[in-house]
Symmetry: C2
Subunit: 152 residues, 2 copies
């Protein structure tokens, strides 16, 4: 079951709220939610700062918080993320066969969208101005932290 | 600094010891270590069962246990894993620019080795009989758990 346009906006707003929660904790402002049958089953945000984590990007945190799910559930999920997913998060999407990803923006960082498409993942770009503003401010204020998060 | 042949055997044995520790805990027998300048800086094993985790594959656990590292460290690391890395773990390797991966075996499961090579990662296959035996027995005894771990 694919979300409607109104649901897309609602779920992207939920991912953005996660990003803002991360920022309020002193963290990297990227958020994600995973939706199954019109319901959020996992939400998360980047926890590099908060937990000293190298792997808890927003999408990974949302996947972890969704818990162990059978393959049939993942295949019918839509993953929302405020920022274009990096190689690690894209790899997790490919591993679990998540077929739809809604990307808040890819102006500040272009992830592995081409690779995802080549693996059959449908990507919908929201080009959301609030997501862009969050990242642009963070990248300007904390460039060293941002570079660490993407292995640069 | 690239490990010597003797070091390769030693570090692969450390990864195998992690896999065996995971099995003893009732978990999925896959282990990994990350080596920098001749020293293990992170070790881990699959924690799906132990922590109810969807993201703590062995390589991810080893990365997490290595802690936050600067890009320059990752680029000079060798990652050892008892089993060919899946899309998620391969994505993490690509994200952090780890340039060398030693794979215990890929007979029981072939991960994203072609993609890793296309991204400049050097892969060394050990084709280790003990790693194969660990996985074959596990896959025979717990096929549903194994399928869950690889999103099938």
């Amino acid at each position: 079951m694919q979300p409607t346009d109104a649901q897309h906006l609602e779920f992207l707003a939920a991912a953005r709220a996660e990003a803002e929660a991360g920022l309020a904790e002193g963290g990297i402002p990227i958020g994600s939610v995973i939706v199954h049958e019109g319901r959020i089953i996992g939400r998360g945000h980047n926890r590099r700062v908060q937990r000293g984590s190298a792997i808890l990007h927003a999408e990974m945190d949302a996947l972890e918080n969704a818990g162990r799910q059978p393959a049939a559930v993942y295949r019918d999920c839509t993953l929302y993320t405020t920022l274009s997913p990096c190689a690690m998060c894209s790899g997790a999407i490919v591993l679990y066969g998540i077929r739809r990803v809604v990307v808040g923006e890819h102006r500040s960082f272009m992830g592995e969208e081409d690779w995802l498409r080549s693996r059959g993942v449908a990507i919908r770009l929201a080009d959301d101005a609030a997501c862009v503003a969050l990242m642009n401010r963070f990248m300007r204020e904390r460039p060293e932290l941002w570079n660490e998060d993407i292995g640069r």
